[in-house]
Symmetry: C2
Subunit: 114 residues, 2 copies
């Protein structure tokens, strides 16, 4: 069955999709970038690169790297980061609900004989 | 202002997003893969690769390359290809409508002072 995924496109040509949103959720849940990255089997370096990309895209921080040790210092989401996750998930729910009938119809055409 | 873009995800790990949909629309409008590609400043080879990728993803043809010359033979969308474009655009309209308030709220947070 086809499913839907969303990207929020930002000027000039960056976007935030399901991977970055999931990373932010894990950072929020586990309290650090390194722990969040680990949950996704992602290197710290890659996770940090994604966070920096989002900070740059929005012109504001989405993650607040609090004071802490050089390795594994605590981190949480800023107000912007929290809004981003919350709004993304709300849009996703609304879009999935709006898309359900269309995706079912598409699946029927895929499965049909001609 | 942030905007939304959609991908329809298909097993195992392929997807159809705005670029492929636009290509299909141009193929339908101009009656050939080469003319559709030209409208998007895309090489014929690249366009053909995208069409083949969709045919493979769906296990069925989305474009019907009709009999014609070796170069620029006519082409149109199959029933599946037409359904794909129509359903994608319908989902997009519904999702954009559902997302509008969330995207405005996000924009306000991006622009706010803290």
């Amino acid at each position: 069955m086809p499913s839907l995924s969303l990207r929020i496109d930002l000027d000039p040509d960056g976007r935030v999709g399901p991977g970055k949103i999931e990373l932010l959720e894990h950072i929020a849940a586990f309290g650090s970038i390194s722990a969040g990255a680990r949950q996704m089997n992602m290197s710290y370096k890659h996770a940090w690169g994604l966070v920096e990309e989002m900070n740059r895209l929005f012109g504001r921080a989405v993650v607040d790297a609090q004071k802490g040790g050089a390795h594994g210092g605590g981190a949480g989401l800023t107000k912007l980061g929290m809004e981003l996750v919350t709004r993304y998930r709300a849009i996703e729910r609304a879009a999935e609900s709006a898309a359900a009938d269309h995706l079912s119809a598409l699946q029927r055409v895929i499965e049909s004989a001609d």
